[in-house]
Symmetry: C2
Subunit: 418 residues, 2 copies
């Protein structure tokens, strides 16, 4: 069988399985989630044996220590996967809920019913725990899912898939509700991205290169974010103690993630008072500061920033700092350089708080809180499958509800159109 | 200037204009809508003079009478466009509304704020009234719009665009909020579909050929429906008088539209009683019946249906009829042949009414009402920009709300992530 026929077959089986899981009760879906969790615990030895095959190959290939770290399935990794499944089992089932029910003048009762999307394709890189996390969320939202992990995690992902299949079959559900692509080459991704008859949505998770490849080659709608260039603007008259605490948290608590602060904008009237002590703390924590000319005057240790610093996603202990003349210049800077991910204003001013929230065109806009709150769990979605920075269908963190859509249902008593 | 540079310039100007209209008050947007309506009325003579240029060219080219009819701007066409604008002005402004406001355990207040999508591209065929209808809806939802009508309506669309521009400029809004592509060739569409940096959404309206061309060539997300193969299923024990009334309405009231019935499925126990009198009425109204073998036995005038009849969108006085052995066979038929548009069950049975609504995977599913109700106005959306049969972002008729998205807004008091 050619690679193409294999993938077409997988996609068609997913489509058929989707109709079964779409109509499955929450009780049964939750039982499957807990059965997968139990399977992971019981078969931890098997998973780790398969994981060692991947780790050995990765070492041979000379992958970086960081990549090998991400690839490793430790006891804690298994615990965290089982914990995640249990949390998803506790979330309310979005499927079948009705909202916006109205009675039309002719007596028709019209409502929107939440329904699964159908078949979701997830394309991701090294971390094998995504296999379990993504499968759990898609399944709970009533979708079938096709997973395509990194080739370096091939054996680990196959082992996890086998455990998931077993739990599905024991519950009399088709194993095709969750499938892992058996192919290792990138051509498999390319073929998968053309199955728009069978797959409803693609979610890529990984580096910018992977995401661009998917976006450019997909005939299926893609939910994605390329990068997070998150800004904090410290306003004129801001509470500078609060600003220090928030900026430190936004930059230092976990610098390698997409919701960490990358650029700090400071109103010129706040700069002299705020920047010296802020810089001291940041530099102490190992942060390198790249500043505009005014910043460099106030902070002697700062390097001069160049144009490429403003749109940069460092994902590291580096911070770009610019002193702005007013609120509007801060808005202009953000509008020009932001990646539509997360922006923060620190202010005590009513009008500018409202103006910032209304005018900044990013997926999460915060007043007086850390950028690090752009996260499905933190914002109350329960768990997240990713963050979207494009506006169609979902904008911001995506939870269970974003893995569904709505259809109209209409109850009549013989109404016809005049 | 090359065609490509012209279109890139238009797209960039639309992007800039979008930030202006996004933040415009409802009062001002409504004033503009009413000013456009007044302009259409005052300059009716100019519009019709330009329209005659298109009509003359169309006759020279030998376009069909039906196409010329669609192209003609009569006094009633202008009245209906002004009426439409007034209705959109009366609809509530979706922009800025907040929903799902929650307080997180750490005191953060989290909500979703409705915001415009940004720049919308509409690609459509002959009817020039779409220029005004689509512009009005996009503008009210706070979006900039780029319109690309059919080349046969070129002068008419330019005239309408000039009137819209004038109303925008008189309100101190950029004329680039509504732009009509000045180019007549299809290459212009192709270039437009590649401007994913500046355009957020493409909505094609027209025949299947146009829609497929757009879907296959667009790098921008597309909301579309290819066709409406709408089914009515008359259940065992259905109220047959009601069934007759609904089926007649669904097929005959306006056979040329996407929400007309194309296939009638009848439970075998209802067939003998229902079909003869139903067929008599339909045949009297000029409907040609293409039936399964059992149907042909019951209705002597019916032609034998062939396989191509089941997925057919006739858009004409033709109806495919099949007698099914039970409810499940009706569901299987619909699942196999439906275009995810509109399906109806006529039933008095509680369980099957619920089962149909839950299991049928179409954008509008109705119990005891005509397929013709799949329409934004009829379902209470106010006005519609089109119907989506794909599930991402919108499924079913799309009104003002579907021309927007939501972002998260978060109000804090210094919260940081632990």
């Amino acid at each position: 069988m050619s690679l193409e026929s294999i993938i077409i077959k997988i996609a068609k089986e997913a489509r058929d399985a989707a109709t079964k899981i779409a109509d499955c009760s929450a009780i049964k879906k939750n039982q499957v989630l807990l059965a997968i969790a139990a399977g992971l615990k019981q078969q931890a030895g098997f998973i780790q044996t398969e994981n060692i095959k991947d780790l050995t190959a990765a070492r041979k290939k000379g992958l970086s220590a960081a990549m090998i770290e991400r690839l490793t399935i430790k006891d804690e990794t298994i615990l965290s996967m089982t914990q995640g499944l249990k949390e998803v089992a506790l979330l309310p089932d979005p499927v079948g809920a009705m909202k916006n029910t109205v009675i039309r003048p002719n007596g028709l009762q019209v409502a929107r019913m939440r329904i699964p999307l159908g078949v979701i394709g997830i394309i991701y890189e090294s971390r094998p725990n995504v296999t379990v996390d993504a499968a759990g969320l898609c399944l709970k939202a009533g979708n079938a899912v096709i997973l395509r992990g990194g080739s370096e995690a091939f054996h680990s992902n196959q082992a996890l898939a086998a455990i998931i299949s077993q739990a599905l079959e024991e519950a009399d559900l088709p194993a095709a509700v969750v499938q892992v692509l058996p192919a290792r080459d990138r051509e498999a991704v390319n073929i998968m991205l053309k199955q728009d008859d069978s797959i409803d949505l693609i979610i890529p998770r990984g580096g910018e290169g992977l995401i661009r490849f998917v976006a450019e080659n997909s005939r299926i709608p893609v939910l994605k974010h390329y990068k997070g260039v998150c800004h904090v603007y410290v306003d004129q008259g801001a509470d500078l103690k609060m600003a220090e605490k928030i900026c430190f948290n936004a930059k230092v608590q976990r610098p390698g993630v997409c919701n960490a602060m990358e650029t700090l904008l400071v109103h010129k009237d706040s700069a002299d008072l705020f920047l010296p002590s802020m810089a001291e703390q940041l530099i102490k924590a190992g942060v390198e500061i790249r500043g505009c000319p005014i910043t460099c005057k106030i902070i002697p240790q700062a390097k001069e920033a160049v144009e490429q610093d403003w749109p940069a996603e460092y994902l590291d202990l580096i911070l770009a700092v610019r002193v702005v003349t007013d609120f509007n210049q801060a808005l202009e800077h953000i509008s020009r350089y932001s990646s539509s991910h997360t922006e923060v204003i620190i202010t005590e001013n009513y009008k500018r708080a409202r103006g910032f929230v209304r005018q900044v065109d990013s997926s999460v806009v915060l007043v007086n809180a850390s950028t690090r709150f752009n996260d499905g769990g933190q914002l109350g979605l329960g768990a997240e499958i990713g963050i979207s920075t494009s506006k169609l269908h979902a904008f911001g963190p995506m939870g269970l509800e974003e893995l569904t859509t709505t259809k109209f249902v209409v109850f009549g008593d013989g109404q016809i159109r005049e």
